[in-house]
């Protein structure tokens, strides 16, 4: 297990370095001169030269990259062009809001995905199975931004059960968890929809596989209750691929949350990326993408470790 852990951690180092290079280059390859963008069209040539030197943009690419990386490692992502505050001040609180939304969606994904998947998988071709599989097929192909709009119209604007936008009520005194959760319901359902449907379908097929194994038949012959067989013995073998896909979906949720955040004005990292793109505020985009990807890589690492811990066949391979 230790060997697996060391090996797996070692593999993410080159990936993270690669990610940082890609993010760095992405901002370098944009058409247009960043200095001219900062100074505006009226800038003189000398002034452009001075600013370029002060930003270190006259140095070779690799020097610029290592300088940038060194700062990033210290938590310094530069200064936002649009609002002129340190990027880190802007990004981290937003990132936390996205983590909250992702966590909420993940709970829905796991509860709905596992629940529907297990019931469908153990009662193949029942009316519930047929209904839920058609339904998940539709939901898995529904654009999140569109579902968000529909939920907003029906449940927020028409029925008034939930607030339509934002994370807290306008009155500052109201910043309670209950208020937060009330605001989170619709965005979380929207973000979770596609992933929950995919997880449900995968859980179903995973259980269908396991339930046909001989050891399950043996347990039935021994007279164990169906509940014990499924939840105790079936679960053990069905779980590793499920955890694998759930881990992958966490990354999907963090990315897909972008659409939800724009639709529901949830002040997360996705909305920040979106508004920074619109404002051409590239240092913020750069930092936000880097932070989210970094966490995504760590989540995937965590998933692999959990799966290996649960499944001895994988960690010995």
């Amino acid at each position: 297990m230790l060997k697996f852990l060391v090996y797996r951690v070692a593999t993410i180092v080159p990936v993270l370095i690669g990610v940082s290079i890609v993010v760095f280059l992405m901002m370098k390859l944009i058409p247009g001169d960043p200095v001219e963008a900062i100074l505006g069209p009226a800038a003189t040539t000398e002034k452009i030269e001075i600013v370029r030197k002060s930003l270190g943009l006259d140095r070779p690419f690799y020097v610029q990259y290592f300088r940038w990386l060194w700062k990033v490692l210290q938590g310094d992502f530069g200064t936002s062009i649009a609002v002129n505050v340190p990027v880190s001040q802007l990004v981290w609180p937003k990132f936390w809001n996205t983590v909250l939304l992702t966590a909420g969606s993940l709970v829905i994904c796991i509860v709905v995905g596992l629940g529907v998947g297990i019931v469908s998988g153990t009662r193949q071709y029942s009316w519930f199975d047929r209904l839920s599989m058609s339904f998940t097929l539709i939901v898995a192909n529904t654009p999140a931004f569109w579902l968000g709009l529909i939920l907003m119209v029906v449940l927020a604007l028409y029925l008034g059960w939930f607030p339509a936008t934002g994370m807290y009520s306008m009155r500052a005194a109201d910043k309670t968890w209950a208020d937060l959760i009330h605001h989170m319901v619709l965005p979380a359902i929207t973000t979770a929809s596609v992933s929950a449907a995919i997880i449900a379908r995968l859980v179903r097929s995973s259980f269908l596989d396991v339930i046909r194994k001989h050891y399950i038949t043996a347990l039935r012959a021994k007279g164990l209750s169906e509940r014990d067989i499924i939840l105790r013995h079936g679960m053990k073998n069905a779980l590793p691929p499920i955890i694998n896909i759930v881990g992958l979906q966490v990354g999907y949720l963090m990315g897909g949350a972008l659409f939800t955040e724009v639709v529901f004005s949830w002040p997360g990292i996705g909305l920040q990326i979106y508004s920074s793109i619109v404002a051409r505020d590239l240092p913020v985009v750069q930092a936000a993408v880097l932070v989210t990807t970094f966490v995504f890589v760590l989540v995937n690492l965590g998933t692999d470790v959990v799966v290996a811990a649960l499944d001895p066949r994988i960690r010995r391979a």
Partner: protein, 311 residues
């Protein structure tokens, strides 16, 4: 892994011809062509067949938009703003600027379908080359190609697409470029895995032993077998990319208005959700139907292309 082009010679024994019409007899008992085998398996799946028909219909309607579209998709009639579904002369109603939704749906189909189909096609070609080269040659080439792709794999896909499209600026070409970049690592992995699996199959060893050159092995034996998983995966991806492409347009990162596409149409309706929900609902339902169809066709292709699953 599927092995599509394995000869099926031994499965049908040629009977002794006694009649005069030996040619017709021979035709009857000849091994059916690969296309025929595939089509027979695929057409047995009614759902997939229906979905494929729907896709064909939608594509045809989009291509024929200049002929079919009853109105100009960019010019509105302000007297009928937000008229509901079923208005005489405007079966799907009108949007916030009084533009005919059916016309916009037809013209928008061109963009929405192209945004997904072209990147998937281009990315598939690039990925097959990458996966084939990495899987077949192995060693350092494998390391270089697959490890660099791992880097792009590390980004959450939606985020990468939004970031690239955002950095490049709005425009249809930029959206397609961003989707292509996002897709390459995913499809390459599928092509790579297929190549490695097929490379170790016995029939490849057999070809090698009988003196086939590496080029022959690569193009005649391995390539055909890496194509089928890529085609299956690709057709599912088209559905997902239609949704992603629409999402990018929804954010304003896609084509520039007033040209329509299904994502922009959903966004257009945002301000009239309570008074005229059809403005957003109609293009959204279209997106779901088409995306779902590609998904179903993908499943159907998977079953039809896999000799172990068909029959």
């Amino acid at each position: 892994m599927s092995v599509v082009n394995l000869p099926l010679k031994d499965q049908r024994t040629t009977p002794v011809t006694t009649g005069a019409d030996a040619a017709a007899e021979a035709r009857m008992f000849r091994r059916p062509s690969e296309w025929r085998i595939f089509w027979e398996a695929f057409s047995r799946d009614r759902l997939a067949l229906g979905a494929a028909a729907l896709i064909g219909l939608v594509c045809l309607a989009a291509v024929l938009a200049p002929v079919l579209s009853p109105y100009d998709p960019t010019v509105g009639d302000n007297s009928l703003r937000l008229a509901p579904v079923g208005t005489p002369g405007h079966p799907l109603g009108l949007d916030g600027q009084g533009r005919d939704i059916l016309s916009r749906l037809l013209w928008g189909g061109q963009v929405s379908l192209a945004i997904a189909l072209l990147p998937v096609a281009v990315a598939s070609i690039i990925s097959v080359v990458l996966g084939l080269v990495a899987g077949f040659f192995g060693g350092k080439v494998d390391m270089l190609i697959m490890r660099s792709l791992d880097v792009f794999f590390a980004f959450p896909a939606v985020l990468l697409a939004v970031a690239i499209a955002g950095v490049l600026g709005p425009g249809m070409l930029n959206v397609m470029l961003s989707i292509t970049i996002v897709l390459i690592p995913y499809i390459s992995r599928v092509a790579y895995m297929a190549t490695v699996t097929v490379k170790n199959e016995l029939f490849v060893d057999q070809a090698r032993v009988s003196g086939a050159r590496p080029r022959q092995i690569l193009f005649h034996h391995i390539l055909p077998n890496t194509l089928s998983p890529v085609i299956v995966y690709g057709s599912t991806l088209v559905g997902i990319m239609i949704v992603l492409g629409a999402g990018l347009s929804f954010l304003g990162l896609g084509i520039t208005p007033p040209k329509p596409d299904w994502g922009i149409m959903c966004a257009d309706g945002r301000n009239f959700l309570l008074v005229a929900p059809h403005v957003s609902a109609v293009p959204g339902i279209m997106l779901i139907l088409v995306a779902m169809s590609f998904n179903i066709v993908g499943d159907g292709l998977r079953d039809a292309l896999d000799p172990k699953l068909r029959r």
